[in-house]
Symmetry: C2
Subunit: 433 residues, 2 copies
């Protein structure tokens, strides 16, 4: 069984996360793929000893050439960013027949033709799922899931920093400067936040998605790009009073007139799903002519989510490399001999928070219900308002419990249903945990 | 260049949609894949003449054996449902080395071991993306996107009928019986709605997702299944008053105690994304140990969205079959020679609805602004409240316009900014269309 050997260029946030993931989830990955994936070399010019990675089988070097020249390495992971050395790494790796995986949206947005041509002419593969939307598998969804659709448009919150700032301006009533400063203090914005707040990072991702969705190449400079630094508190308040939230969107549309593509703050209806994307999360809505309206949501950045996307690409490449030897991706993800039969826990053995609705003849009976919960040792976290009552002699009333074992709650409610003042069987609804 | 020949068993809603998609999007699919995909045979026992499909190159038969025995057919699409003939079709197709694509969740939930074993032992492939979540590529996301993650839990609204009923009970204050009746009249619920409202359909999908997420086989009968027929209007009102919506959820968790799996109505926080999934839409939230919280949203059923998933699987299989001959899935989805360079429309040539925020010295100046919009022929759809004002001599005030050409709006606002009573430059924010 072939081992897939990986060389990581750059041990920053995402590089370290990738090595951690491949170490921590090694056994489940091997179960799924049938082959081991090992990081054999890592290139970094920064200190790396404190990274919570087992370096006993990883050779650390300060030169990416040590990785590119290593004929044992199958997949070169480029996580140093920028379009200088990063570009050389990817082109060299592909030129040598290796596969390359990158999270580098700036490079792909500005040099897509060169990079994709190198990938096309190489026996190796190029993975770039991590370049857009962190852990959200949006590249794969468009390339494979919606492969039969004509993509008409997409629209998304694809910069977590900008969304974090706009969320805190809206939820906590902060002005732009304060919100930016806090984002920097919490590590959600860089010391130089220009790329994030001026929409440039979003624009890089829009170009990648446009090329993928519309099957064409575009010039980055033709994109209209406007950031959020001009948004004032009063804009957010006025928009909210009119039923809208303000979000930084990256959008494109294949319209009758031509290809629209733009990045700018936009009003979105307060009850829409995009309006409810909070903090550093990302969400991308895609409209296809058959699939209709879809949305994908998840962490748009960060060490572990982005590493998840990088490793998804490495596994994909590993599966393809091993399929050249006759193997296939099994329908249920893992080879059949790796599938065990497992039992599902009976519901009695699970626990949950519970909503219990009673119908009472008299609202004074609430005291007796509260006492019963107390006697059973099940804490009540919230009582419903009583103004909900309408039907005569059937006063609907509900209780929210703490998290408690199902069998204890069921036993209590069974007892309660036998009490004389419970006029109708009470209804238990679990709260999603 | 090999043509991928498809035989469709069942020309109901999804079968007809699949044939329509492969016909309507034929050229874009061939551009992406490099090979044509043709429906050569379709089996149906119902009338089919009015289906808006060009049957000139499709042989219609009333026997699925005509498809199974056809050595020219590469992919057999099973869309008749149930676990009788449907099972025979899939097992036979795989046994003959063909690939099979199905949307049949009941079959997979109850006979997964048999079906997946047949797929594992066949040189053909099995696609079942359409079995869960209609057009949402959730199978692909778990199998490939989160291939590096240990999936800890998932939770989802995966039955559009039940969600439609609960949405209309909540939004339109209807009782269960009325909401069900309306769902039936609008075609969102079947004459016998048992599978949908009693959670059985959701349970089928939970088993498929559990097997995929947890890499194990489970017994359908061990799943706790509770439907929504016991939910009363007062439950929804009480839950709403306490900050929750009620949704029918399918959930599973790989917990310390074992595998939890259950289907039941659940309270979800009103401001959560799941609570905002309305009508017949589906959403599935997956939590992985590296990717964290993700969510996928889209149409959970229906002819065209489900056809999108079926065709995604057919294309995937076609790409694999053709890669055995040396081709690869290109990084940018289409082969490089199919990529043209395209221009992006200048922002001036686009149109949008606009939010324009002014800062006024005196609120009486609003009349002048309104007149200017009128003179420019740009209709104002909404004016903000004026109570938002706070800073002295800077009264924030906003207008929402109709959809209008960008250059016209920009010209007007430029003129307005020159008026003496506009104390600060006004801010234009586009409304997401």
């Amino acid at each position: 069984m072939k081992t897939i050997n990986v060389g990581i260029c750059g041990l920053g946030t995402v590089g370290a996360g990738t090595a951690q993931l491949l170490e921590k989830n090694a056994s489940i990955i091997q179960k799924r793929t049938g082959f081991p994936i090992k990081v054999t070399k890592a290139a970094t010019i920064d200190p790396y000893e404190d990274l919570d990675i087992d370096f006993s089988e990883i050779t650390v070097t300060d030169s990416v050439d040590d990785i590119l020249n290593d004929s044992e390495i199958d997949v070169v992971v480029e996580l140093i960013g920028g379009d200088g050395l990063a570009k050389k790494i990817i082109l060299d790796a592909l030129d040598r027949g290796k596969s390359a995986v990158t999270a580098n949206k700036a490079l792909l947005a500005k040099h897509s033709e060169e990079v994709f041509t190198a990938a096309y002419n190489s026996p190796g593969f190029l993975g770039y799922e991590a370049s857009v939307g962190g852990g959200i598998p949006i590249i794969r969804s468009i390339k494979e899931g919606f492969a039969g659709d004509e993509i008409e448009s997409f629209s998304g919150i694809i910069n977590g920093t900008a969304n974090f700032i706009l969320s805190s301006m809206s939820n906590d009533n902060k002005d732009f400067a304060t919100a930016l400063k806090e984002a920097q203090e919490k590590g959600f914005a860089e010391a130089d936040p220009t790329f994030d707040i001026e929409g440039i990072d979003t624009a890089h991702k829009v170009i990648i998605l446009m090329e993928l969705a519309f099957n064409a190449l575009f010039e980055f400079d033709q994109l209209y790009v406007e950031g959020i630094s001009g948004i004032e508190s009063c804009d957010i308040k006025l928009a909210k009073s009119m039923g809208y939230a303000i979000k930084l969107l990256g959008m494109a549309r294949n319209s009758q007139k031509g290809f629209e593509g733009k990045v700018h703050p936009a009003l979105v209806k307060s009850d829409s799903m995009l309006a409810n994307v909070q903090g550093a999360f990302n969400a991308i809505s895609v409209y296809g002519n058959f699939v209709g309206h879809t949305m994908s949501y998840g962490a748009g950045a960060g060490s572990h989510p982005t590493a998840s996307a990088v490793v998804g690409d490495i596994i994909d490449i590993g599966r393809r490399l091993s399929s050249l030897g006759g193997e296939q991706v099994p329908a249920l993800s893992v080879p059949l001999d790796q599938l065990s039969k497992q039992t599902i826990l009976p519901i009695d053995e699970t626990e949950s928070q519970y909503f219990v609705r009673f119908k009472l003849a008299d609202e004074n009976d609430i005291q007796a219900i509260k006492k019963s919960f107390q006697a059973a040792g099940i804490a009540v976290q919230q009582l419903s308002d009583l103004k909900q009552s309408s039907e005569a002699a059937q006063i609907p009333f509900a209780i929210l419990t703490e998290i408690v074992a199902e069998h204890r709650l069921q036993a209590l409610v069974k007892d309660l249903n036998n009490l004389p003042f419970i006029t109708h069987p009470s209804k238990i609804i679990r709260v999603d945990s």
